[in-house]
Symmetry: C2
Subunit: 374 residues, 2 copies
C-alpha cells in the first residue's frame, strides 16, 4: 500500500531519471525514524526467555523495500539478545500486491546487491500474506512486533462522496463527519484484529498519515495545498465541460487523516473495546518529513524539471481515483485524454509557479503494547 521501493526501480525509472530514488527516499526516511522506536520497543521485551518464534508483521508492506533497513536493525537487535530464537517476518498487503517482487527483494534477486540478502539470515523465515489488515492475519497471541507505515489512512470502504473536493480534508462538515466516523470504526477494527494477534507483552509501532496538532497533513505544510490543487484542477475540467457534474463529484479519496487525539481516543476511554482488549498507548508523536522533490528543486532551481518529476509522483498514487470517477461509457482513449489533461494542467502550473509546491509527509507515530495477562 505504501510506495514500492527498489523492486519497481526498473519500471519506475522509465518515467525519468531520479524518479526512483526520490520516490522512495521520503517513505524510507519515515520508516528509519520509526526504527528507533522499534528498537526501543524491543528493549522492554523479554526476548531471551521465550522459546517460541519471534514473530514480526509489516502491514501494508508493498515490496518491502522501504522497510528493509529497519527490518535488518530489528533482526540484529533480536539476534543479539536471543541468538537461538527463530524469527518470522510476515509481510502483508492486499492480494494484488506484487509479492514476487517482495520475495525477490528479500532474497537479493532484485535491488541492492551490496548487502547480504535478509532472507539468508540463519533461522529467519519470510512469509507473505495477501490478507487486508482489516482482518486477522496471524493466529491468536502469536505476534511479538507489529509494524506499519503509511498504509492505514486507507479506509475499509468509502462512506460517501465528497461533492466539491476530493479528500476529506476539504469536505463539508457533514461529509467529513461521515469519513471521520468510518475512520474511527476502522481504527477500532484494525486495533482489535491486532489485539487478537499480539502475544502478551507484544507491541505495535505504527507510522500513519495524520492531520497534526498544527493542522498540517500530506502536501499541506505551509505552502500550496496539494489536495486543494487536485480539487481545483478537477473542477476546472468540469467548468470547461470536459467532465460531467457526476464525474466531478465522483472523485473522492477513500482516505482519512486522523488527528493525534483521534488516534489516542480508544486508549483514553477505559470502557472502549480496544482498552478492554488490553491495548495500551505507550507513545504518540507527530513528525514531518520533507518532500524530496521540493528539496531537489531547492538545489537545482529548474522549475520545469521539478514539475516533470513531482507531478508524475502524485499521479502514481492518485490516478485511479480520477480515472475511476469517469463515466464507464467513455472510451479508453477519452479517459486517458482527460486524465492526461488533468495532470498536464497541474504540471504546467507547477512549472510556471513552482514556489510552495511540496508533498511533505505528516505522520503520527504510535507505540502500542498488549498488557501481559490479557
Amino acid at each position: 500500500m505504501r510506495m514500492a521501493g527498489k523492486a519497481s526501480a526498473q519500471v519506475i525509472a522509465m518515467r525519468g531519471a531520479g524518479y526512483y530514488s526520490s520516490n522512495t527516499v521520503g517513505a524510507k526516511a519515515v520508516i528509519d525514524k520509526a526504527g528507533d522506536l522499534v528498537v526501543e520497543a524491543l528493549g522492554s521485551m523479554a526476548l531471551e526467555a521465550a522459546e517460541t518464534t519471534f514473530s514480526v508483521c509489516d502491514y501494508g508492506a508493498a515490496d518491502g523495500g522501504t522497510s528493509l533497513d529497519m527490518m535488518r536493525r530489528l533482526v540484529d537487535t533480536v539476534r543479539q539478545r536471543a541468538p537461538g530464537r527463530a524469527i518470522q517476518i510476515t509481510y502483508t498487503d492486499l492480494p494484488h500486491n506484487d509479492f514476487s517482487a517482495l520475495f525477490r527483494l528479500t532474497q537479493g534477486l532484485l535491488g541492492d546487491q551490496a548487502k547480504p540478502p535478509i532472507a539468508d539470515t540463519p533461522n529467519l523465515y519470510i512469509l507473505g500474506s495477501g490478507t487486508s489488515f482489516y482482518r486477522q492475519i496471524v493466529p491468536d497471541g502469536t505476534l511479538n512486533l507489529g509494524f506499519s507505515a503509511t498504509a492505514m489512512h486507507w479506509l475499509s470502504k468509502r462512506p460517501g462522496l465528497i461533492a466539491d473536493h476530493v479528500q476529506a480534508v476539504g469536505a463539508t462538515p457533514e461529509e467529513q463527519a461521515l469519513f471521520r466516523r468510518q475512520a474511527m470504526a476502522d481504527w477500532d477494527t484494525i486495533l482489535l484484529a491486532r489485539a487478537r494477534e499480539l502475544a502478551p507483552g507484544g507491541k505495535l509501532v505504527l507510522a500513519n498519515f495524520c492531520a497534526d496538532e498544527q493542522g498540517r497533513y500530506l502536501g499541506h505544510t505551509g505552502g500550496v495545498n496539494m489536495f486543494d490543487e487536485f480539487a481545483r484542477h478537477w473542477r476546472d475540467l468540469w467548468k470547461a465541460g470536459r467532465i460531467t457534474e457526476a464525474e466531478y463529484r465522483g472523485a473522492t479519496f477513500q482516505q482519512f487523516y486522523k488527528t493525534p487525539d483521534e488516534f489516542a481516543a480508544p486508549f483514553r476511554d477505559p470502557a472502549s473495546a480496544v482498552a478492554k482488549a488490553g491495548l495500551v498507548l505507550d507513545h504518540i508523536s507527530t513528525t514531518v518529513t520533507a518532500c524530496p522533490y521540493a528539496a531537489d528543486f531547492a538545489r537545482h532551481g529548474d522549475a520545469a524539471a521539478f514539475a516533470r518529476a513531482y507531478v508524475p509522483t502524485l499521479r502514481s498514487w492518485s490516478e485511479t481515483v480520477f480515472a475511476g470517477a469517469l463515466d464507464a461509457h467513455r472510451t479508453a482513449h477519452e479517459r486517458a485524454a482527460i486524465v492526461d489533461a488533468f495532470y498536464g494542467a497541474y504540471e504546467a502550473e507547477v512549472a510556471a509557479n513552482p514556489a510552495g509546491h511540496a508533498m511533505d509527509y505528516v505522520h503520527c507515530v504510535t507505540v502500542i503494547s498488549k498488557k501481559a495477562g490479557t
Copy 2:
C-alpha cells in the same frame, strides 16, 4: 511449480476452449487421490491435544488451484476433531510464482465462486512463501502436515548436459548417473529441511513424478514416448541445419524421475542422515493418472483438434528448456521461429498419426512421519 489452475483460466482460455479444464484436471486428480492419504495421516495425529497452531505447508503450490479441494477436506477434518484450533496454510513456491493469483483464488476473488472462499474459514490463516523447498521454510518443529504434488522432480541444479537426448530418461548411463546422484542428494536436502520443520508426530504426504516399477514415467506408459519425441524433433532441427550442435546438446531438463526404491532408500538405511533425523516411511505406492487430452481424443476422434490442444500443453512447461538452449546471439525473432518450428513439427506429427500420444502422469506417493521424541 505444478501447473497453475483456476487463477490462470482467463489467460489460458485464450489459447483455445478446453485448454484450461483439461490442463488442470490431471494435476487435480492426482492431488485428490493423495487427499485420501492426507485424511488417513490426520487420523493418527493427536489433533485435539495441542494448543499450538495446526500448521500445513503446500510445497510448490503454484496458484493453489489444484490443491484447493484437498485443502478443504484437510481443514474440515482438522476442524471436526479440534474445532478451536487455529490452522495455518503456508503455500510455497519459487519467488517468481504468481502469489497474487494464489491469494485472490483462496479469497474467492478468482476462480470458482460457488463455494465459500477457503480464506473465509474462521481461525484459518493463509500465508505464502517464495522460498525454494531446498531450504527450510517454517521454523523448527512447527509443521504438522506437509504436502507436495508434482514439484520435487525439479533438481536444485543441472549436474550436466544430456548430449543426445533432453531428459535423464534418455541419457547415457554416465550422464544418467550424474543426474541420479544429484537427485539423491537433493532428496536428502528436501527431507532434512522438512525434518527440521516437522513437529514430532507430524507427517508429509508427497506425490512426486517417478519412474515406476514397470519403468513407466510421464508420457511413457505404453504408447509413444513423449521425451523421445521431444529429443527427435530437436535432433531434426539440428540435422536440418536450423540449430547448431551446441544448441542441440544444450536442451536438457533439470529433472530426474526417481524409482520407488530410490525414494525409499534414505529410510531403509538406519545410518542415513534422514533416518537419524527421525523420518520414517509409512507408505509408498505408485499411481498412473490418465492424460485428459488423450481421453478427450478417445471421445471426439478429431486428430487435428487433439494435436492443437495437446502440444501447446507440452509447450507450456517445456518451452523454456528449448528456447534457453538457443545461442544468446540469436535475435528474438529467430528464437521464436525455431521454437515455433519445433512444436509445429510435433503438432503436425500428432495430427497425422495421433495413436499412442498421451501425457499420462506417473507418480510415487509417499507418506512420511517424524518420530515423536526426535
